[in-house]
Symmetry: C2
Subunit: 371 residues, 2 copies
């Protein structure tokens, strides 16, 4: 009888048709198995940790209280360097454009980037427009597949699959967020590893984490943070770096890449106790929480370098579009204290898009046998 | 001419037969390409960071000087809990054995673990003996393939490939280190993802790093650290945890797993400035540097929890084998200060082996459709 049920269970594993009552029947005939498992797996079942959403406590608008040992900080101006992402991105794009011209001379071919855009979100449309404009500027072919908000998920998967097969496409980007009825993870999983210019594939993440291995692609925002630091002459080896936020898109890959540069990395997030105290010890603070003005002056030590990845739209009736993009870092307070800082906008954002072009170029070079 | 060389280059990509002179010839005909690349890739070429070996400064044997604010620490005994890895491992093995008996009753099959051992290193032989003994004790079939020290790498790869194909094998372990003439990375890459019970495959590491995804296997020592903490009732969410060391085997996966548990994780390594100061802020210190007695009392805050993964053989003429296994943490000094600590030996070690058995059982359950 046990064997019969085991055979039945095995046959139905992974099948949507597996009768739900089968487990209970199996347990009826083999009850001891499940008792034993419950007992010793008490903690093993939670080995990957509880599922907790990252909800930051919204920062108060009152001036922060500094701890006693740092009350002297910030009184005299350090004349900080403003790390200009627009200029750095321009330099990178110029280099990419030159390489693409020479690639075209040598092979007759150019790189191609495909974007899948679902729905009519104004911010998504604006991001996609910028990416396509930047592609054109450097000589990358762009392909756009626009799908309606209410299309079935399979249409998005098919769009990605078609681009996977297209040899003139070297990078595929699905503009996030997708409509709520879709499973982002499943759609992203469809992107071929060789065209995953966002670098979100777990194999790319694993190869980024393991020293000595090379991922095919590094996520663009993480690469942008390191580019900004290296091009500004900021030393990383042995430096204490605090990364604020742990998203798959920014916080996680940035912390992994910083470790490859031999920085001492601490990652703080919405569940951290005293994130301000931890950040205050850092030589470099990289903030990617997505919470406007989270990082006040009491989060920063004098002379720190600040990279602000946050770009949240904040209502602003005086602005042309009715909102302005605001960083995680309270810029005015930080400016009095730090040795270098990226502005928002005009800091990490443009370099992140340049890194997308760079990843697409790298992918094309691999495809053409030029890397 | 350019097209000819491009075609030649493409044909030879990835082939060991690619003539090394081809790149220079290509550069001769397309020199501008490489000039442009040099200019804008100044920093991009080093985006993955410099290759620096992890060499820790050996700790001095003199008593450490404590910073002024903590000179009162450690005077009164906290009566710390000694986290007994032997007892916890025994509990886990008992659970595994019960599950395997019931698996056998239900399916007629049992899990199998294959070990590939190259050479005659006494420590490796001893580790393998222990693993095989533990397998027998819980009812896991073990398979051992012993190869001579001077065998070609292909023999090791073939041994792994044979175990990959064998349906009675659910986990494959290549005992490290391999002889110096072999490429460990290449040999480990041969292990099938479904049998990678060590959890070293980059896809498993990537899926461990990304919240919401489940790796097939978590590296045994990382899992052991979390098991020891959870079973000892130590809360992880929001706690400041310092991981000392960043190896692929322990430090890296442990830091990733701790982040899944919503701890605030800092990773210190041989290039960190003030690792003692950083560790002294931690609620939990997990040390996996492999440097005997690296962590002195000035590295620990009063009441911290200490998990010592280090097990270095240190000469000891009074011991039966001429050496004793010594942890990273100076136990006597830590004992006066901490709230809980794992001993060496008898702490992380036995639980790590139990996790190997647990990973093998999980793999067999997946293979038999029971997971």
């Amino acid at each position: 009888m046990k064997v019969l049920f085991t055979t039945l269970r095995r046959r139905f594993i992974g099948s949507p048709l597996r009768p739900p009552a089968l487990n209970s029947l199996f347990n009826l005939f083999c009850p001891r198995k499940y008792e034993a498992e419950r007992a010793w797996r008490l903690s093993s079942s939670s080995i990957l940790g509880p599922d907790l959403p990252d909800i930051w406590k919204h920062p108060s608008s009152a001036p922060p209280t500094l701890p006693s040992h740092s009350t002297n900080q910030g009184c005299d101006d350090l004349n900080p360097t403003i790390i200009n992402g627009k200029i750095i991105a321009e330099e990178i794009r110029t280099g990419i454009a030159a390489e693409i011209r020479q690639m075209k001379d040598a092979t007759g071919k150019i790189p191609g980037l495909a974007v899948v855009l679902v729905g009519k979100r104004r911010d998504s449309q604006s991001y996609v427009r910028h990416k396509i404009k930047d592609c054109e500027e450097v000589g990358i072919n762009s392909f756009l597949d626009e799908l309606p908000e209410d299309c079935p998920q399979d249409d998005v998967v098919n769009a990605v699959s078609n681009f996977n097969k297209d040899p003139s496409v070297h990078g595929i980007l699905v503009q996030l967020p997708l409509p709520k009825h879709m499973d982002e993870e499943k759609v992203l999983n469809t992107i071929s590893l060789e065209k995953d210019v966002d670098g979100f594939h777990p194999l790319n993440v694993g190869n980024l984490a393991i020293r000595g291995r090379e991922p095919l692609f590094i996520p663009c925002a993480a690469k942008a943070c390191i580019e900004l630091l290296l091009r500004s002459g900021v030393e990383l080896v042995g430096k204490n770096v605090v990364v604020i936020g742990r998203s798959r898109v920014v916080g996680l890959p940035t912390s992994l890449l910083l470790q490859r540069h031999h920085a001492t990395v601490s990652v703080v997030h919405a569940h951290s106790k005293d994130p301000d105290r931890i950040a205050r010890e850092a030589d470099i603070v990289i903030s990617a929480a997505g919470v406007p003005n989270l990082v006040r002056r009491n989060w920063l030590k004098r002379g720190a370098v600040v990279i602000d990845v946050g770009t949240s739209p904040v209502e602003d009736p005086s602005s042309e579009h009715g909102y302005c993009l605001t960083g995680d870092v309270c810029y005015e307070e930080a400016f009095q204290l730090v040795s270098a800082i990226t502005p928002v906008p005009g800091g990490v954002g443009p370099v992140t898009v340049a890194m997308l072009l760079s990843n697409t170029l790298d992918s094309a070079k691999r495809a053409f046998g030029l890397s």
